[in-house]
């Protein structure tokens, strides 16, 4: 009988320590699901969120890493002008693909936060928040709480966001995008492609809005004229 009570006592202590440890380190599992590489790669036919018109003559694909400071600089300093000059004018469509670099601890987690916001139609708002509050990438601290705040500021429903992040719902999609970038010989971020051709190979600096304007204008100038639209058949 005494042995039984000792067993009960020991079990109670072990379980108590377990509960305390789980409360103390709460959120690590959720981070693991969204922040780590997934066990399987998922091709869900998703090829990135896009800005611009479907029939734009030039499509720019950008492989980006949310923790990369250069990507943040490009997004905050160059993209507003590019959006104004090329995207809203219908000259170019911009496609964002994830390319989380292994040297960045929370890059997948940030990409996942953007995807979970995107599931609620708030991808671009979340992307803006992640890049304009980029100090999270310098602190090295777990940004889970900050990302929730940024998601809330982006107009995201937090219950659905939390469930999405906890489940790591888009981890496979992000890994698919990364592997796609690897196959296309993406060697850093940001890396750009225009209508399938890798850009700025020899450039030793971050491309700016003028570079893109020249490039897009040049592609459009050298494109064969589109055939006249024919009436649709029924």
């Amino acid at each position: 009988m005494n042995r039984f009570y000792v067993m009960v006592g020991v079990l109670a202590v072990v379980l108590g320590i377990g509960v305390f440890a789980m409360l103390k380190t709460g959120g690590a599992s959720a981070s693991d699901a969204a922040a780590g590489p997934p066990p399987t790669v998922v091709d869900d036919s998703f090829r990135g969120y896009t800005l611009g018109q479907e029939n734009a003559p030039v499509e720019i694909v950008e492989y980006l890493d949310f923790e990369c400071p250069v990507c943040a600089t490009f997004a905050t300093l160059q993209m507003p002008t590019i959006t104004e000059q090329l995207i809203t004018t219908g000259k170019a469509r911009w496609r964002f693909r994830d390319y989380p670099l292994p040297i960045h601890k929370y890059s997948r987690f940030a990409a996942h936060a953007a995807q979970c916001a995107g599931a609620q139609g708030r991808y671009f708002q979340m992307q803006d928040q992640l890049f304009s509050h980029h100090q999270w990438a310098q602190t090295g601290k777990d940004p889970s709480s900050l990302f929730r705040d940024l998601a809330q500021a982006s107009g995201v429903d937090l219950k659905a966001y939390d469930a999405c992040m906890e489940a790591g719902r888009y981890a496979g999609r992000i890994e698919y995008s990364r592997q796609e970038g690897e196959q296309r010989v993406v060697d850093g971020t940001p890396t750009f492609f225009a209508n399938g051709t890798k850009l700025f190979n020899g450039l030793r600096r971050l491309p700016n809005s003028d570079d893109f304007k020249s490039l897009v204008d040049s592609i459009i100038a050298h494109s064969p004229p589109k055939p006249a639209a024919r009436p649709a058949r029924r």
């Binding site: 039984f4 379980l15 509960v19 709460g26 939390d162 906890e166 489940a167």
Partner: protein, 153 residues
């Protein structure tokens, strides 16, 4: 006696499972530990996570605590021959099983998410229920020669 000991150990484990969920519902700790499949946060943040104004896990804490106390008290030498304790535990476990069945229905058909901790609790309370039935069906131990005056209400 073995049945009652098993019930006490199961109730102790269930108590800590419910305690963890309750403390999380009260805001202690960060995101709930649930593994990669998720579901716990969805369940915990759903409208069904609160029952009669209190977190569902609170009822689990109270229920498991009641079973644990009953099982430990029933292990006193004076109570070993009294089947009333087994009936009491079976009654408490039956309440728990019914409540768990309701919660599992809510998870499967209303929330469309499954929480691993809830599944764990469901397994524990079902095990307690089965063991308490087995305890009631076991042959009665020989009565003590000393007269007993204590009874379970």
């Amino acid at each position: 006696m073995r049945y009652r000991q098993a019930i006490a150990l199961l109730a102790l484990v269930g108590l800590f499972v419910a305690l963890y969920l309750w403390l999380h519902a009260l805001g202690f700790g960060g995101a709930i530990k649930c593994g990669a499949s998720g579901g716990c946060e969805t369940v915990q943040t759903s409208p069904w996570a609160v029952f009669l104004g209190l977190p569902v896990a609170f009822y689990g804490v109270v229920g498991y605590l009641a079973v644990l106390i009953a099982a430990l008290v029933s292990l006193r030498p004076a109570a070993l021959a009294q089947p009333g304790w087994d009936r009491l535990v079976l009654g408490l476990a039956s309440l728990g099983v019914v409540f768990t069945a309701y919660l599992t229905y809510v998870e499967l058909f209303l929330i469309h998410a499954i929480c691993r901790w809830c599944v764990g609790s469901a397994v524990i309370i079902t095990a307690i229920w089965i063991v308490s039935i087995a305890a009631l069906r076991r042959p009665s131990p020989p009565k003590s020669p000393e007269p007993r005056t204590d009874r379970v209400a």
